[in-house]
Amino acid sequence: MDGSSNTVPNPDHSDALESAVVRFAGDSGDGMQLTGGQFTLATAVAGNDLATFPDFPAEIRAPVGTTYGVSAFQIHFGARKIRTIGDMVDVLVVMNPAALITNLNDLRRGGLIIADAGSFTDRNLRKAGYEANPLEDGSLDAYRIIPLDIQKLTQDAVADCNISNKEALRTKNLWSLGLVLWMFERDTGTTLRWLEEKFAGKADILAANKAALKAGHAFGETAEISAELPLYHVPPADIPPGLYRNITGAEALAWGLTAGCRMADLGMTFCSYPITPASQLLHVLSKMRDHDVLTFQAEDEIAAACAAIGASYAGKMGVTSSSGPGIALKTEALGLAIATELPLVVVNAQRGGPSTGLPTKTEQSDLFQAVFGRNSDAPMPVLAARTASDCFDVAIEAVRLATKYMTPVMLLTDGYLQNASEPWRIPDLEKDYEHFAKERIVTEVTDFHPYDRDGETLARPWAVPGTPGLMHRIGGIERADVTGNISYDPDNHQKMTDFRRNKILGIADDIAPQEICRGPEQGVLAILGWGSTFGPIHRAVGNMNETGLAVSHIHLRHIWPLPANLADILDRFDHVLIPEMNDGQLFKFLRAELLLEATSLRKVTGKPFKVHEIETAAAALLEGSDDE
């Protein structure tokens, strides 16, 4: 089991942990995201591999002290490659009763709770729904509790600073951060430097923040209760050398799309309408004007898709993004892009549904929509990113396919990937990527026809307004082969339908063959995943391999068309298990495509899989197959 099991001291290095999971939780106003972010940075600098996950409340800012106002940040870090955010929490830092009650379920038995006892007032207890104070009534006996009056300790620490009491209280997250940094043997240097940048010019506030941070750290070393405080040692992980940074999926996507455009030598016109959890991509790209990225916040999703199509028509890389309900609105426009064969990248940051559903929760239930969700026979390639940093590469691939094949491409990510961060070895954009052809825009063509196809890719030429001599007209009514004029001819319709299908099917020969990313090349059981289930599946397979079980992990990047060798690979296994955060969509899709008899593992709770859930399902299949 990921996370929790490994905090139990590793038998080989009795003083070291292989990995640990820490969660900071408090009121929306308590600065937990900032605390988590700083802890992450210090941890990365200490050489651990890690994965993080912020968990915002759905309400913008609910009344202080309520359960639905709780904001949390989780980090899983370790001495080995970290694949998940961790099944169970080892150390839970809570700033109030509401944070405790909403997060306790995820704490492993025997886990540590650091609680700001000062905030466990009657009023706050009542707001959280406690009848008695859990720090005192014995109800937390299964855990280790360290109640500290962090409010008071912070106030004392900053007493000499020239700030108001309200401002003083605001620094209590830094006090807590200091303490936890100490517990995990990290120093305060990274955070101190960051504070100096952030509060440059605000000397008093800066001084207070520094004081609080240092006081928390010092408290660990000197306080009387320090004997109770565990000290954890998580040695650096063995990760490939290189320059690293932390990256969220949204950032990776933004940069990857831009990198793809640079490789294609195209400006990007990004058109979107805000929606959780896709908006982050709009925000990041809005700041990238220097890289020829123009962002347009449209009046709705339809306008966003249409404007992106217009931009592609005019010779830019049109990109649009949304989440499930917004993608639904774009459907008709996607049909137009398919019919007019214009390049377009459509990013879908999936969330819980149907309808408004669970906007802030993750789910991967838009696979059907991506592959099948359009009127008529309207094929388009579908890609899915597996991790935050993988978003970068998938985005480049999307731009490559869109421009090479003159087609819209659907790129699936999800709420988890958008917000989760992980260290990313920064690539060398010039050397690490096979540069694909420069812009495919034609400028001089003798005997130009807008639907004259490339013999190999079947792509039509991209001739953009402003180019002398190539004036032409395109539209959504069926177009005659070659000329593109309106045609109602029956045979032409069949021919164009065949072209549209075959063009996309042909991509199967232009993508990397499917690989098995962990485990034996053949055997009893393959676990087949797509999207953000990568982490838990990979860890589960690793764990099982370590205990000698022959299980393999296969992870799809290309959902449509599927890699040409996928059927062959799957054939080599007796069982295929398909875990999905939906009601079995890839499972059904592969039945349709490959007549694959697989086992579906479904989880529709808005939460990522836990490693042990996958291990359990795999074990059941392995046992079942022993019986045979």
């Binding site: 490789m263 220097d290 020829d292 709705d300 404007a307 004036m471």
Partner: protein, 339 residues
């Protein structure tokens, strides 16, 4: 931005494609097509730099008949597609064509935002007060009571009014023309073209098959003089045969009235001068629907302000993006080295 071939003067026919025009014989669209082709020739438009974008409908077939770049998109979305085109390349000369259904029913939101944002395009709304292509259902501009296949008992809705809508949306250039007086229409189109920002032109268009004569009371030869007023900036607002009639404010009221020079003591000096930058007057002119008052034709309102696409282009500037620059970006901020 785009290189153009050496200029040679083009005539209206140079803007016609080889595609057969497929409107019903007698449809008002033919005349408008002629008018637009003439306008393009007159202003010396370059076909390679000119783009026609439309939604779906009879009117929306327009791009197929123009030997320029053309995009026949989907119903109601021409304004949105066009916005993307202008963002991608603000140097293009962009014309949007849409019917009343395309523009004011399914597409009204995009039209609203195009006008509000002031995207530099010419929007031509062919208003025939009917859904032509889908065979004659009433449209949002159809008059109450119109019997159609979807309103056998007569339409029961208050109609939408294109010009007041455009003004309410914040449009900075608003004009009206018709499918009969093509020369005047062409003048109006030239003004629209010259205006930087979104230019909105309502064109009254006869659908001979499903709504014949909808504008007869305004456009018929024998009625036109009294039923229309042709506005010219800085000129008195006169109309009628021999321009004997004119508009003035009802004394002490915020209401226009039509008066006859020489009657009831009215003199030329009483007639209001058209000030096309006056938004309040534009609202009053837009509201004129007959029969007491003539229908306003020509440029009703024109008060330029910065165009959205140009503003963005200015901010974007010349950026010289490069892989190197991007490499710098991804390496900036908090990084650390392993190994």
């Amino acid at each position: 931005m785009n290189e153009t071939s050496p200029m040679k003067p083009l005539g209206p026919k140079d803007f016609a494609t080889d595609q057969d025009v497929r409107w019903c014989p007698g449809c008002g669209d033919y005349a408008i097509l002629k008018g637009v082709q003439k306008t393009l020739a007159d202003i010396g438009a370059r076909p390679e730099n000119t783009v026609f974008i439309s939604g779906i409908g009879c009117a929306a077939r327009f791009p197929y008949y123009m030997k320029t770049y053309g995009f026949h998109t989907i119903h109601g979305r021409a304004a949105a597609v066009a916005t993307g085109v202008k963002l991608a390349n603000p140097d293009l000369d962009l014309w949007i064509v849409g019917g009343d259904g395309d523009s004011l029913s399914i597409g009204a939101n995009h039209l609203f935002h195009l006008l509000r944002r002031n995207v530099d395009v010419q929007y031509l709304l062919f208003n025939n007060e009917i859904y032509g292509l889908t065979k004659g259902q009433y449209s949002p501009t159809s008059r109450a009571g119109l019997r159609t296949p979807s309103s056998p008992a007569g339409a029961m809705e208050q109609p939408a009014h294109a010009i007041p809508f455009a003004l309410g949306a914040g449009a900075r250039f608003v004009a009206r023309g018709g499918d009969v007086r093509i020369k005047e229409l062409s003048e109006t189109l030239k003004r629209a073209h010259a205006h930087k920002g979104a230019s909105f032109v309502e064109i009254l268009q006869n659908c001979i098959v499903y709504n014949d004569g909808a504008f007869g009371h305004i456009m018929d030869k024998d009625k036109a003089d009294d039923a229309q007023i042709h506005l010219e900036n800085g000129q008195p607002m006169r109309f009628g045969r021999e321009a004997k009639k004119g508009l003035r404010l009802k004394p002490g009221k915020l209401q226009l009235e039509a008066v006859t020079i020489g009657e009831n003591g009215v003199t030329e000096a009483d007639i209001l001068i058209h000030d096309e930058t006056d938004r309040v007057m534009a609202g009053m002119l837009a509201a004129m629907e007959g029969p007491d008052l003539p229908v306003a034709m020509g440029v009703i309102y024109c008060a330029p302000t910065a165009a959205f696409d140009q503003q963005i282009a200015d901010v974007m500037g010349r950026r010289n993006p490069s892989i190197k620059k991007l490499q710098n970006l991804i390496e900036a901020g908090h990084t650390w080295t392993v190994g």
